[in-house]
Amino acid sequence: MAATTRSDTRPATSDLAASVGLVDADLVEMYRYVALARALDERMWILNRAGRIPFVISGQGHEGAQVGIAWPFQRGHDWIAPFYRSIATCLTFGMSPRDILTAQYATATDPSSGGRQMPGHYGSRQHNLVSVSSPVATQLLHAVGIALAAKIRRTGQVAMTSMGEGSSNQGDVHEGLNFAAIHKLPFVFVVENNGYAISVPAARQVSVPNVADRASGYGIPGIVVDGVDVLACYVAARDAVARARAGQGPTLIEAKVTRLTGHSSDDQQTKYRSAEELEAELKRDALPAFRAQLIEAEILTEAIEASIAAKIAADVEDATDYAESQPDPDPATALHHVYAGDAGDGPDVAPDADSATETSD
């Protein structure tokens, strides 16, 4: 999805972009996704406080890592099994702001689940984004199985999954990494380590300083990246995708991120995190850091920034209006799709054409 692959004329390439093998337009677009994810996420909290939506689970603090890591995967070809904080991942991989907000409102046209799942449980067949469930870490095995099928069917696809550091302690992770490593499957395991699993700090969750320290136990590379550094995340993922595509097997990437909000709208994190800690964590936000980096490199001009901001504002507004306007699912459809063919195939209410793509791209 890098702009280089689509462009005929030689695009602008700053030293910064060149240093990671991208062009300036890529970096701008990456920035837009980071900022869009943040803006959508902030809107979710506003809607929650306004009583419009009952629950929010947020990706704030994870967006930089998510966009950087998702970037080298090929939209519509590769696969991602995301988790509940993967708003930026899902956007980067093709879901629209409308797709995200209809999920918050649980409308009939929510493409993730038709209003059947809680917000945060995204998914899209159209975009090869596996449907998110709540029991953590199960999706790792799905991504491994997808990679197995890719290898057997020789599709050239790579499968990625992401989750938090707490979730990485589930048995499924061990079982899946072992199998993927034995068969050198085209698989990338991403841990977004934000230091907490709800209230439990990483030191009480994971017995080693880095989840990536576990990779060697499976004979695969384990890489720690700073989630504040979007381009470092990109490079780590790019290399992992290249290894996977070349038949060299899985990679574990651990991005050190921060959780800028409570675990969810049901959580009061001040009960277990000090004010100083929360204050300090603000500095680990990739959004201002990436912005500063792109301004410094003269990639993000004031004009570009203004146009991005306008676009994002319009997108978020449009998505909100759209989601607000969408109908609830009809209980008459609630028995559908327990099994194939229960009620014809496909969702009961087709999301309208616009909602499936970005509104202003």
Binding site: M118, S134, N169, Q170, V200, R204, V206, K271, P329, V338
Partner: protein, 327 residues
Amino acid sequence: MPTRTFIDAIRETLATEMRRDESIIVLGEDVGKKGGVFLATDGLWAEFGDERVIDTPLSESMIVGASIGAAVNGLRPVAEIQFADFIFPAFNQIVSEAARIRYRSNDGYGVPMTIRAPYGGGVHGALYHSQSVEAFFTHVPGLKVVVPSTPYDARGLLRSSIRDEDPVLFFEHKKMYRSVRGDVPDTDYVVPLGKAAITHPGSQVTVIAYGLMAHYALEAADRVGEDGISVEVVDLRTLRPLDTETVLESVRKTGKCLIVYEDNKFGGYGAEVAAIVAEEAFDYLDGPVTRIAGPEVPGVPYNHALEEWFMVSPEKIADGIRALAAY
């Protein structure tokens, strides 16, 4: 007698039991500093410290498996599974191990362990924060399964569970945590496992329920009472072992039996109750043994319209009672 919410009864019982018996530990995800996502263990960590109130890593099989070992070596663990929906990763440890170690060792080992878990729908929890999972465990010899419906019973049954020598699954309907209040004495009473309660005496139709549905059954009984139908409500309280005697006595008296559960109907817990009643009270039945339960979908959907469609309600129960009474 002091009035308490359902969750307060549970929390205070944990505290008093831990004061009474220092072999009791509490472990689970976020049970420590945070006090549990529902605050059912709030304050325990401050009082009993890191060793007796353990914030575990996010791994349910470990929580249960380590509790089994701890029980074998002299502790009395009370494990919390954050939502009943997340008990399945521990299924093997519960069903293959905890339930069987006494039998397979010919009484060499036992597992005095309680597993608490919030269950149930009607709280916008969707597929994975709304489940009723009791049927998966009530089938298993070696386990006991408890579902209290009042703060009084919650306290008395939790005491019995913790003091029991065998593994007990203790399911708490999360919708009741703060919405249900009741009198709870400060005495050290227990409610024995395996005893149902008649919470509304009546003569024409027996309604059998547990958990939140025991409340809805009472509401329904009141409603149809206005139409002159006399309902006897049996709150099972313990699902395994089932108090067959109380159930059969009531049905033999009324001649009609409606079983209510929130879980999807097919193969749910109420199927066993229906089967027992159909066999053992056959000669007394003046109408078919009927059931009101959840629809056959794999989880409670999130959207409020769909959730409402899913949930058993007092009205649906009242309709079922009326139909049965008219039979």
